[in-house]
């Protein structure tokens, strides 16, 4: 197998890796906010549930969680869901990353001084307006470095989909390497992850810079 055949075979995996990455972010970034807000709910059972969820998501390996999401429906309930592999991966990633993002958001929200809420309240802003106009924009700036960290981790974590035999870059690299007895696929995968994260770093640095106009 020539280098270019390897590359083109692996490019389908790159697209799949990108799909996991993009869908996870699209799902977990907003879900994390909902989780962070529910964690501060007035109802103790809701708070308890959310705390337990975050604790489990962070306290067990994502690889294990993926296996549970994939095999759980069948072994626990006897359900046979068609084409469940990819949805299970996305569910696993989104729920796991939402827990991490929720904690990052919570830290950001809690670091906003009470005076900001009070000033908004005295001016007559509703709770929703206060959050959307005053609090959230400041939170976004504060949490950006932590979010960048998490996004970079996600790029690499996509390789865990290999556990469910999903043909993303890492799975393909392993397969091709075994069948062709070549080290090259691993190098290609390595360069791919590195370049992807390099792009993430550039994009995130830009976003951070765009919020540099205030302190």
């Amino acid at each position: 197998m020539t280098f270019s055949t390897m590359l083109s075979t692996m490019s389908s995996g790159m697209w799949k890796t990108f799909l996991i990455f993009a869908l996870t972010l699209i799902g977990s970034l907003p879900l994390g906010m909902i989780v962070a807000l529910l964690r501060k709910s007035r109802f103790a059972p809701v708070r308890g549930f959310i705390k337990a969820y975050i604790s489990i998501m962070r306290g067990t390996p994502l690889m294990l969680q993926l296996l549970v999401w994939y095999f759980g429906p069948y072994y626990l309930f006897g359900w046979n869901i068609g084409n469940w592999r990819f949805p299970a991966i996305i569910v696993g990633f989104v729920l796991n990353y939402a827990a991490y993002f929720a904690e990052i958001y919570r830290g950001g929200i809690e670091s906003i001084p009470a005076g900001q809420y009070e000033a908004a309240e005295v001016l007559g802003f509703t709770k929703f307006q206060t959050f959307m106009r005053i609090i959230l924009p400041q939170v976004v700036k504060i949490i950006m470095p932590s979010v960048t960290n998490e996004v970079i981790t996600l790029v690499k974590d996509t390789s865990l989909a290999f556990t469910l035999a999903y043909q993303e870059v890492f799975s393909l690299a392993k397969q091709i390497s075994a069948s062709q007895t070549s080290f090259m696929p691993f190098l290609i995968a390595g360069v791919f992850y590195f370049v992807a994260n390099y792009v993430v770093e550039i994009v995130m640095a830009r976003i951070e810079k765009s919020m540099d106009y205030y302190k």
């Binding site: 001084p113 005076g115 009070e118 000033a119 908004a120 005295v122 802003f125 307006q129």
Partner: protein, 252 residues
């Protein structure tokens, strides 16, 4: 009367912070509240501006009751919608300014008028620029709070409160976070508002200022108003031993 507070009581975890406090503010009046820290001055202001809820008593703005005590002795507030109407009457300037750091100075001034009161951008901007001019910081309209000195930030905060066109403006130790040299510029602005007959209640430790600007001084200690009256009387001829004791500290 712009504001009447009657028999106000307030507890924090069983600690009585305000004990049966009554006072009123007339149109165009400037009232200074002085007293040691922990005397309940700030809490009184926060109750008047609805940041804290009272446990008992009455809050009446412009003759309209915002909170009263029911038969069982608990304070009852009007619903959230009516409360919004009462919030329009009062503005509050904080010790720590509490400007919105992600907004330009101009946006700090126009955001609430536009999105709370529904005023058009043109009108809100015109009002804001007038206020900034009055505060002597119209050249800072497009700057951000972090680029301003503390004194300038506090003047912006005053302008932000004024942009809502309140009937009464409360100040919670407006110069306590400022260097002595910046204190003057903020006091000058408050004095200017007093000359324009803006109704104000100022919690302050600036005794000469309180004496010069206010129509009435309240001395608070231990959650009660110990003494009140004309500033000349309270400062030069205090009747209560506790007031004398407190004022003596400032003479040194």
């Amino acid at each position: 009367m712009i504001l009447e507070m009657k028999n106000i009581s307030k507890n924090f975890d069983g600690l009585e912070v305000l004990k049966d406090i009554s006072f009123g503010v007339d149109h165009g009046e400037v009232v200074s509240i002085i007293g040691p820290s922990g005397s309940g001055k700030s809490t009184l202001l926060r109750c008047a501006t609805f940041l804290e809820t009272i446990d008992g008593g009455e809050i009446i703005y412009m003759g309209e009751t915002a909170a009263h005590t029911d038969g069982s002795g608990n304070a009852v507030y009007v619903g959230p919608h009516e409360l919004k109407h009462f919030r329009k009457y009062c503005g509050l300037v904080f010790q720590q300014f509490n400007l919105f750091p992600h907004y330009s100075i101009l946006k700090n001034l126009i955001d609430a008028p536009m999105h709370v009161q529904g005023i058009s951008r043109e009108e809100a901007e015109a009002t804001a620029m007038d206020l900034l001019r009055k505060m002597g910081i119209e050249d800072k309209a497009n700057a951000y709070p972090f680029q301003l000195s503390g004194g300038q930030q506090q003047r912006v905060a005053i302008a932000r409160a004024m942009a809502m066109k309140p009937e009464i403006l409360f100040f919670d130790e407006p110069t306590s976070a400022l260097d002595p040299e910046l204190t003057g510029e903020v006091l000058k602005v408050i004095r200017q508002l007093a000359e324009e007959k803006m109704t104000m209640v100022v919690v302050t430790h600036e005794m000469p200022f309180a004496k010069a600007v206010s129509n009435r001084v309240l001395f608070m200690d231990g959650g009660v108003i110990v003494e009140q009256g004309d500033p000349r009387d309270v400062f030069d001829n205090p009747q209560e031993e506790r007031t004398k004791q407190f004022l003596r500290v400032f003479e040194r």
